[in-house]
């Protein structure tokens, strides 16, 4: 909703001032300071970037991180869309139950959820003992510290970020639209493909963007569930900063990650022209 007729522009700007000041002091300035560390050591240098792009290992980690984020985004979309649809359709008590199932994990710390996956997936964990007692496997499976485990746990953690925006865009579709499509000759499948899906795209885009970007910088879950063998870019940054104390190099990796994230956000917006799809009928 617009603020037309409410606050004047200058009053609104004045009210935004404290937060803007806080953001600049506590976020923008430290960020700029940290990023500039990568360029001045002590004089201006591109040495750290040169090293980053010349080392195959780092580029591999970067590639792996992007791949992981893409896979996690795809899986959350495929699993999340039906849940979002269900949430948008349900009314009354069941709507609350499904919403609680989606939201409660969101309020649980990531650390707790990651440890929960360790308990489930470890060698003598819940899953392996169940499979063994059912006689499905003789040897415990290696589940933890695998790429699959990372994708699984990240998908779980990031699911609400996919479901909620999709759900809200589905809810915004007036109910007479699918009805009109039905009445004009569309089967249930075609109502979905030609009306519901296109109209929910803004939510899908928002969800994908959010999940992808958060996944790119994910740290705790991959570090815990993926073990030392699955190295994500954020793990690399932490290693450089806190173990090797190479702050300029950590800063340069961070800069690359930030630029990558911003670039993807911009491309997403341009490519899919989300604004055109928004509902203003």
């Amino acid at each position: 909703m617009s603020m037309r007729g409410g606050l004047s522009r200058s009053t609104a700007a004045l009210m935004a001032l404290p937060l803007a000041a806080l953001m600049i002091a506590a976020f923008v300035w430290p960020l700029v300071a940290f990023l500039s560390v990568s360029l001045f050591d002590p004089g201006f240098t591109l040495e750290h970037y040169a090293r980053l792009f010349a080392t195959e290992l780092y580029l591999e980690v970067l590639g792996e991180t992007i791949l992981t984020a893409l896979i996690v985004t795809a899986v959350t979309l495929l699993l999340g869309y039906p849940i979002a649809w269900m949430m948008a359709k349900l009314r009354g008590r069941w709507a609350w139950i499904v919403a609680a199932c989606v939201l409660i994990p969101l309020w649980t710390p990531v650390l707790v959820r990651s440890y929960a996956w360790i308990i489930i997936l470890q060698r003598r964990g819940v899953l392996n003992t169940t499979l063994a007692s059912l006689g499905i496997v003789d040897q415990p499976l290696t589940l933890l510290y695998t790429f699959g485990a990372v994708v699984l746990a990240m998908t779980h953690v990031l699911m609400p970020f996919m479901i909620l925006p999709i759900q809200s865009s589905l809810r915004a579709i007036p109910e007479e639209l699918p009805r009109a499509a039905r009445g004009l000759g569309a089967s249930h499948l075609r109502v979905f493909t030609s009306v519901i899906l296109p109209l929910s795209l803004p939510g899908v885009m928002a969800g994908c963007l959010m999940v992808f970007i958060i996944a790119l910088g994910f740290y705790i879950t991959p570090a815990l569930v993926g073990g030392p063998r699955t190295l994500m870019i954020s793990t690399l940054i932490t290693q450089q900063a806190f173990e090797l104390l190479n702050w300029p190099f950590a800063a340069s990796i961070s800069t690359v990650l930030l630029v990558l994230t911003l670039g993807i956000a911009i491309v997403f917006r341009r490519l899919l022209n989300v604004d055109r799809l928004s509902l203003h009928a």
Partner: protein
């Protein structure tokens, strides 16, 4: 769409509804409705909100399935046919245009769903938009159109696939009064030009009277009366219809005598003679409802001996006429309309008048209903 089709009855019915019933729990929303709509007819379903007209519409469109009865279109039972397989074009109250599709894409939608080839589709979309006078708007998005234009697109979308029946759910409800009047005329002309069979759902009695060949008055899930607008006004079948269509004075009376010329009645303000509604039987001493249209009451200044004595309570100027609020001898109030230039129009509060009405203008309804 325009070829008349013979059914067993001999006359051409585009749509027949037989004893249709729909219940929601213990609520009977459609209570045994039967109805025939002729090909090329403009029929309105008129009723107050909650009367069950929307349920009837949903049953016709196929969004709801009846618990009993039958809907036949051209001798084909469509009661259990899903909405996308019914040959019905629908116009919704809030247009329901697809916001992510252009005008052309919206109108092409039903053709695309029916697998019409692209070239044919484009030609038909153009023709439909021409019919509603929206040529040149092909590439606009719905959000760029005014309410009236959106309404035309919705209409083009509903007629483009030449359905057997056009179903309209308060299609002009979202437009302002002036535009609504204009669209009524246009819609009616268009319907005549296409020879389309239209079922028009509305709660606006003026609109229903202005546009329809026949109007079905819906009340409590049943058809209260099905007649031409003129008949509904001149010969309402029940007090409900009389009250719903136009203005009417309704009051209680008692049957004194049954005569061939009419029923002699006793009311609180004096004796009167009325005409029984068809189908109702009355007996002496029975309590009845009486209805008289305000413009059928003659007002004379002064206390004449042959009328009902009354006093002026108020006169209200309406432009084309003046409403006289008269206080009768028993204290109840009757409304009568007179021409603005009549002497009676300028009487002052408290002045004596006498009222009268011809027996054929005094409707006698059985008491109990409404």
């Amino acid at each position: 769409m325009m070829t008349p089709h013979k059914n067993q009855g001999g006359d051409s019915a585009a749509l027949s509804i037989r004893s249709l019933v729909k219940r929601y729990g213990s609520v009977v929303a459609t209570d045994g409705v039967s109805l025939d709509v002729s090909a090329g007819e403009f029929m309105s379903l008129l009723g107050p909100s909650g009367s069950g007209k929307t349920t009837l519409l949903m049953l016709l469109a196929g969004f709801e399935v009846a618990d009993g009865g039958e809907i036949r279109m051209r001798d084909r039972d469509i009661s259990r046919v899903p909405p996308n397989k019914r040959d019905i074009g629908m116009v919704f109250q809030r247009y329901a245009l697809f916001p992510h599709m252009s005008v052309a894409q919206n109108v092409a939608f039903p053709l695309r769903m029916r697998g019409v080839a692209k070239a044919d589709r484009e030609a038909r979309v153009r023709a439909a938009l021409e019919t509603v006078e929206l040529t040149g708007y092909l590439d606009r998005m719905p959000a760029q159109l005014s309410g009236g234009q959106q309404q035309r697109v919705a209409l083009a979308r509903a007629i483009v696939f030449e359905p057997g029946i056009l179903l309209m759910d308060e299609p002009l409800g979202a437009l302002d009064r002036k535009l609504r009047k204009h669209m009524q005329v246009e819609l009616k002309e268009l319907q005549g030009r296409l020879g389309a069979t239209v079922i028009y759902v509305t709660h606006d009695q003026e609109e229903a009277l202005a546009m329809s060949d026949r109007v079905a008055i819906i009340n409590a899930g049943r058809i209260e009366q099905l007649a031409t607008p003129r008949e509904l006004y001149d010969a309402p079948a029940s007090a409900f219809v009389g009250d719903f269509i136009g203005e009417i004075n309704l009051f209680d009376a008692k049957v004194e005598e049954l005569e061939s010329g009419g029923i002699k009645l006793a009311s609180g303000f004096g004796p009167l003679t009325g005409t029984p509604v068809p189908g109702a039987t009355f007996s002496r001493g029975q309590k009845v409802h009486v209805g008289i249209r305000p413009e059928r009451i003659a007002v004379r200044a002064g206390a004449a001996s042959d009328g009902w004595q009354a006093g002026i309570r108020q006169t209200i100027f309406n432009g084309s006429n003046v409403t006289v609020y008269a206080t009768m001898q028993d204290g109840q109030e009757l409304r009568a309309t007179v021409a603005p230039n009549d002497r009676e129009a300028s009487l002052a509060r408290g002045e004596a008048i006498s009222l009268s009405a011809a027996p054929r203008d005094v409707f006698v309804f059985p008491a109990g209903a409404a």
